[in-house]
Amino acid sequence: MTVKNEAVVSTVKRHKEPLFRLIKRTDIPIWKKWVIRIATFAVAAITAGLLFTFIIGDGAAFGTFFKELWSGSFGTERLTYIFLNNWAIMMCISLAVTPAFKMRFWNIGAEGQTLAAALGAAFVIHYFGKSLIEPVVILLMLVAALFMGMLWALLPAIFKAVWGTNETLFTLMMNYVAIQLVNFFVNLWSPGGSGTIGNLGNGSFHGLFGLPYIQNAVFVAIVTIIVFVYLKFFKHGYELEVVGESVNTAKYIGINVKKVIIRTMILSGAVCGFAGFLLVGGSPTPTINTGLVGGRGFTAILVSWLSKFSPIAMIFVAALVVFLQKGASQASDSFHLGASSAFSNIIIGIFFLMIIACEFFIDYQIKFRKKEGK
């Protein structure tokens, strides 16, 4: 009997159980999620510090890095205001992309939507800034910014809703259409064809409400509450979530999917439009150029995704990202490393890649092969 068994074993190739396998987690306690995230964050911070130390080539630089990181945002009162302002804009754009993402509509055109809106506001200043009174100009700027933001979001939404046109690629291209449009108007308006526009002069509402430095933050706080309530307590927020989970379910329970897609993207574009309005009018010296949004449209996508589309978590994630950006370029500047924005991109990149990777350990459980008893 035993002989026969051995014969079978020798002819049939024995497959070992794989070393590990993955199991999708459905219930992970919240504290565990945050332990994983905070641990990842710490690892990313140490990696960034080590990279900096390596570049400087001096062990003492490790501590200095974190000191510089802090002083980039909170070193002086002025830096803190700059931090606050950047935080507000980042938050606003992140909020804008959130409803669309919840619907699984991959709107990566926030950069273009915001820039188009800023162009709308600048357009109003350029043509009506001198002839109309200030409050009317500002009101028109708001209208123009919202209109342009919505238009840039609406086009991909309509084609997605009606013909299923790929929205990721469509919105991506719309970014560059907006950038070229801004370049066109900048060249058109610039004195003597210099290709740059300085202060547009009128149209600033900076300090109009007695809070010159935190005014943008206050506006964005209001937008945050509106978006939060919209997503959480309105039927619209529920509907877009169902569309995101399953289009077929949504159709089955009688949700008009096309309508939801278009409506949600209009909202998304409008919030981007508001961010564009703040970028132009909220500055003491309103201007327009292609670097005005400065890649925040793309960073906002990461912020929104990392905060799991929760406006509350987004407040902290946006703050963190801006903190890292400012801190890393400060660290690079004070050691004369050159290309400070490039260095802050590296640091941000490290944090993003690691935090994106850590989501895996939240979503999946790794089960190792049990040792065979011998």
Partner: protein, 317 residues
């Protein structure tokens, strides 16, 4: 005038063609790599590192530069660095099943940052001598045929050959059909016994490596060995070209020449700067139109891979 325009259009198209051929391979496996601009940057950095090491190895004797080894070393290092970027992207999206859009954008941020920062640390002395090897034309003759077709550096021809080879592999070989099957429906491909993870990894790394050669071309041929950061717009155009060529690298050759022509057209016209900016918008606008038309016509052959952007987990239905 028109000859030089056409010649430069073909030369410029190489950046887009490398980028889009690589991105097509990646997208065929169902992975939309939005890290392409960053990966092309890393290819440029890799090329610089490789060439710098090469110059050091021949002792800084610029007369002793061998054109063939210079180009090959550049390509290998560009593919190595860019492939590394693709490997990070692949690890995140294939093994860790992270969201592809987010991972890609993070790679773009990271890759552009790394390149812009560390390229200042690479010793680029003597790169103009190297660039002369990269741009060395096949024929110096002055007739129209030589001007258009034979006046380019080696990488231009490599891009066209590579696009044709990839198109052939995609359409005619088992490997290519397997890859297409994975991009359309990974679960079915898996059930048919295709190694889904293996294919996906190879396509991400190889695709990124090929895109990276575009970065090498940008710095060594187009910029003659100097560095100026404007490759991100070209990287996005390469992504656009994938759509424009409806996922067919052989059509991408013509598409890239059209994109190249539109990109340099403003410099050959007497329009004002403002109008030139509008002309530069055309490639993006045309891509949008192609995207819309293909989705309206809804032919099965010209659709994006059905599983594009979705992670595959075997145990999930």
């Amino acid at each position: 005038m028109f000859l030089t325009f056409l010649k430069n259009a073909i030369r410029f198209s190489t950046i887009f063609l490398f980028g889009s051929t690589g991105e097509t391979i990646t997208e065929k496996s169902g992975h939309l790599n939005l890290g392409t601009p960053g990966i092309m940057c890393m290819g440029a950095l890799g090329g610089c590192v490789g060439e710098s090491l090469y110059l050091k190895s021949i002792g800084g004797d610029y007369a002793a530069i061998d054109g063939f080894s210079a180009v090959v070393i550049g390509i290998l290092f560009a593919m190595l660095f860019a492939g590394l970027g693709g490997l990070i992207y692949g690890f995140l999206t294939i093994t860790l099943r992270c969201n592809q859009n987010v991972s890609g954008l993070a790679i773009t941020t990271f890759g552009a940052g790394v390149t812009n920062f560390f390229i200042n640390y690479v010793d680029r002395n003597g790169f103009n001598y190297l660039a002369a090897k990269f741009t060395a034309p096949v024929s110096q003759a002055n007739d129209w045929f030589s001007t258009i077709f034979l006046s380019h550096g080696a990488l231009v021809y490599l891009a066209i050959v590579l696009a044709l080879v990839v198109a052939f592999i995609m359409k005619k070989t088992r490997t290519g059909l397997n890859l297409t099957a994975i991009g359309e429906n990974p679960a079915t491909a898996d059930a048919a016994g295709i190694n889904v993870t293996g294919y996906k990894y190879v396509s991400c790394v190889l695709g990124s490596g090929i895109s990276g050669i575009g970065g090498l071309f940008y710095i060594m041929d187009y910029l003659y060995g100097s560095w100026e950061y404007s490759i991100d717009a070209m990287g996005w155009l390469a992504v656009a070209l994938v759509i424009f060529s409806v996922w067919k690298p052989n059509w991408g050759i013509l598409g890239s020449i059209l994109f190249g022509a539109l990109y340099i057209l403003p410099y050959y016209t007497n329009f004002s700067f403002a109008i030139q900016e509008i002309i530069k918008m055309i490639p993006y606008a045309v891509t949008i139109i192609v995207l819309i038309i293909t989705s309206i016509i809804n032919r099965r052959e010209s659709q994006p891979p059905a599983a594009l952007g979705l992670s595959y987990f075997r145990e999930e239905r």
